[in-house]
């Protein structure tokens, strides 16, 4: 998903280094050239690219590697460090102050996903126990207020709009008394071209009237070299404090968006990764770079898993795993949890090692389709069948389940086979030190 092509190219450049026998000036220069090419074709701003590669070149030529690591590893380390440096060192979050309401205002170009993001942010914060409301001030695009209203309704968040009124400031004032009831107010504004005076005046006056605590610049991952000018103009007009990059699930390399943003000074806070309300990830530069370099991203995965399965459930499941008791219900629970984590393809990419495995696209799609069918089939099973499938399952039962659920018998057999495999794996794990086992599977970082 994210930055696939960019990281492909980077990986190739790095592979070249590992293949070469000596690290000399020529190797470094080749690497720098490759880096430039890959960053440029990923829409990174030209000036930034040259600054970055110059730094890498300088460090690589001047600094001596510590004794413990080889020169090649050192070179890769420099690239990694500079990239992290480049993308912002620390993870930064929007700090929500208790002030009733904390106002977050979205600004950005047309069609970059502001309204969708308003919904995602509302969901993100309401899940974290804030009382959230949305306010629709997009008075230019027809039906934009209705869109925000419908999106808010989907996630049970109150939404203030007035489709009749064409002056955003009046709309803001109209509901002013209501805002105090909420912790966070998320304000959607109209899309605008930062180089057009009228629209910029509007956002300036809005900014003055509302005085938002956080102004978020929203743009799409596929934006090209134009971003720099736009971002700078937005910054001038309304002092951007955060950045969110949307549509990271496309094929866009996103380099321009990320680095261009870093150059304007505001920090990237979130990445939009899909069309569902929960498709929002906090942005963490180090993770991002390791994903870029193909090192996998354990932390994100663990966090997602945490959100999906409560600790209690996790403990239970763990116990069952170790005892080797693992019935279809558990498999079902696991699948449910997986569903909460998002499509399998995304989850897989985050597991270290898997990102390099390059599973064919279709394989994952089939897998996902299967999961859906299995879940339907399970709904037609008796408790007995769910708990001890390997003992009680018979052709008659499978036929009955098939008729009940409309799922073909062969699919149900597949499910039972899958359960058997997982159970077998569990038994193998029984009594073994998990950390050793992980080593055996060669999963780095665990």
């Amino acid at each position: 998903m994210v930055l696939e092509s960019l990281s492909e190219k980077l990986k190739e450049s790095l592979r070249k280094i590992t293949k070469s026998i000596f690290v000399d000036k020529r190797v470094i220069e080749d690497l720098v050239k490759d880096l430039q090419r890959s960053l440029l074709s990923a829409d990174v701003d030209v000036q930034l690219v040259f600054d970055l590669t110059e730094k890498i070149k300088q460090r690589a030529l001047e600094e001596k590697p510590p004794k413990t690591i080889s020169q090649k590893e050192f070179l890769i380390k420099i690239v990694y460090e500079e990239l992290v440096n480049f993308l912002g060192k620390e993870k930064s979050e929007i700090k929500i102050e208790r002030k009733k309401p904390f106002k977050i205002m979205m600004v950005g170009l047309f069609g970059n996903g502001k309204t969708t993001l308003a919904q995602k942010l509302a969901k993100y914060y309401s899940k974290r126990n804030y009382k959230v409301a949305t306010l629709g001030l997009d008075v230019h695009r027809p039906s934009a207020p209705e869109q925000l209203q419908q999106l808010s309704k989907q996630i049970n968040i109150p939404c203030f709009i007035n489709p009749e009124e064409k002056d955003p400031i009046k709309i803001y004032k109209q509901f002013e008394k209501e805002y105090k009831k909420y912790d966070i107010l998320i304000i959607d504004t109209a899309g605008r071209d930062a180089l057009s005076d009228d629209l910029i005046q509007e956002i300036e006056s809005l900014k003055k009237e509302i005085n938002p605590d956080e102004t978020v610049l929203v743009f799409s991952a596929d934006i090209g070299q134009d971003l720099k000018n736009q971002a700078e103009a937005f910054k001038k007009a309304c002092n951007i404090t955060s950045i969110v990059v949307t549509k990271m699930d496309g094929t866009a390399k996103g380099g321009g968006a990320l680095v261009g943003a870093a150059s304007t000074g505001a920090k990237i806070k979130f990445l939009g990764t899909g069309e569902k309300p929960e498709d929002l990830e906090p942005y963490i530069p180090e993770r991002f770079v390791s994903r870029l370099l193909g090192m996998g991203d354990l932390e994100t995965l663990l966090e997602k898993a945490k959100e999906a399965i409560s600790d209690e459930e996790a403990k239970d499941l763990g116990k069952k795993f170790l005892k080797g008791e693992f019935n279809l219900l558990d498999l079902y629970e696991q699948m449910e949890a997986m569903k909460k984590m998002g499509p399998i393809s995304k989850v897989m990419e985050m597991i270290p090692g898997f990102s390099q495995l390059k599973l064919p696209k279709d394989a994952l799609q089939v897998q996902e389709g299967k999961l859906k069918k299995w879940r339907i089939a399970m709904n037609s099973m008796t408790k007995e069948e769910l708990e001890r499938p390997d003992e009680v399952m018979s052709t008659e039962r499978i036929n009955r389940i098939s008729k009940g659920s409309g799922i073909q018998g062969s699919e149900i057999r597949d499910l039972i086979k899958q359960h058997k495999t997982v159970k077998k794996m569990m038994k193998m794990m029984k009594g073994k030190d998990p950390s050793k086992l992980m080593k055996k599977f060669k999963l780095p970082g665990m």
Partner: protein
Amino acid sequence: MFNFLKDKIKKAVDAVSEKLKKEETEVEVLTAPKEKIKEKKKEVEEEIKKEKLHEEIQEKGFFKKVAEKVTTKRISEEKFEELFQPLELALLENNVAFEVVEKIKQDLKQDLTSKPLSRKNIEEQIKDSLKKSIRKILNLEEINLVGSIKKTSKEKRPYVIMVIGYNGSGKSITCAKLAKKLKKYSFSPLLAAADTYRAAGAIQLVEYGKMIDVPVIHNPNTKDSCSVIFDAIKHAKNKEFDVVIADTSGRIHNNQNLMDELKKIARVNNPDLTILILDSLTGSDIVEQMREFDNIIDVDGIILTKVDTNEKGGSMLSATYIGKKPILYLGIGQKMDDLEEFDIDKFLKRLGLD
């Protein structure tokens, strides 16, 4: 629009020709035999002094030869690589995708290295080759939309236009602009609001419809885009509308399910014209968008949107080069009339390449 690109191209061309001029004199000095260098030096001195006229006349025959050698110069291929670099960067900086830059490079290389260049107007010659190359990329068989609707006989009408594209590229507003444009040509258009996914997506098109006084078919009770378009076509047949413009949901081209849906829509409704909407602010990804959409269903033409916000203009080259599809119109603003016919000469002019 495009001012940035224009500036950059000018600067780059200047830099290249500057380099080339310098290059030539140096090369000449190196390759000429020693005596000739002396002679030439003499010549220059004489020219500056302009005193020893008789000597100049005496050696004129020789001077002419030197001058010719200096003013016409064949660039070697390696030299070209070096010379092209500033132009390459300028193009990249302007959103021209890598593949396309390579293509332009190849064209220029062929043009500039195959025959000797005269020194006098190197700049012009480089500009000319660049223009030729860009023209080649953009010059595709045009689609005459108005003409092909006219050609469609009454029985075969409505002429169905399907509008597809990435999320937020500007499909809905473009549909409305297109409807308004066709109305001007005294066709009766009908809009089909088949964006059933986005919240309030259909209502948006209904609003646009009201603005331009064009009826819109929408069905809030279904999530099936395909049937909305089907109904619209049926309605258009009964009520004798000339054109149906179908707005579809935005989709990301690597989402298999959504692309399958698109395939189905195209199969069932069999549009006469499929237009891909591309956001001109898109960077290198425009190549993927163009390619994938065209892979799934045959795209006939492109409309580039948000061109008014776009200083760089390179996306246009990338999209047409990759897709080999003509650009029908440019979206140049938020008003209903802001849809401009695409014209290569105008585009080249904007780049300062006329």
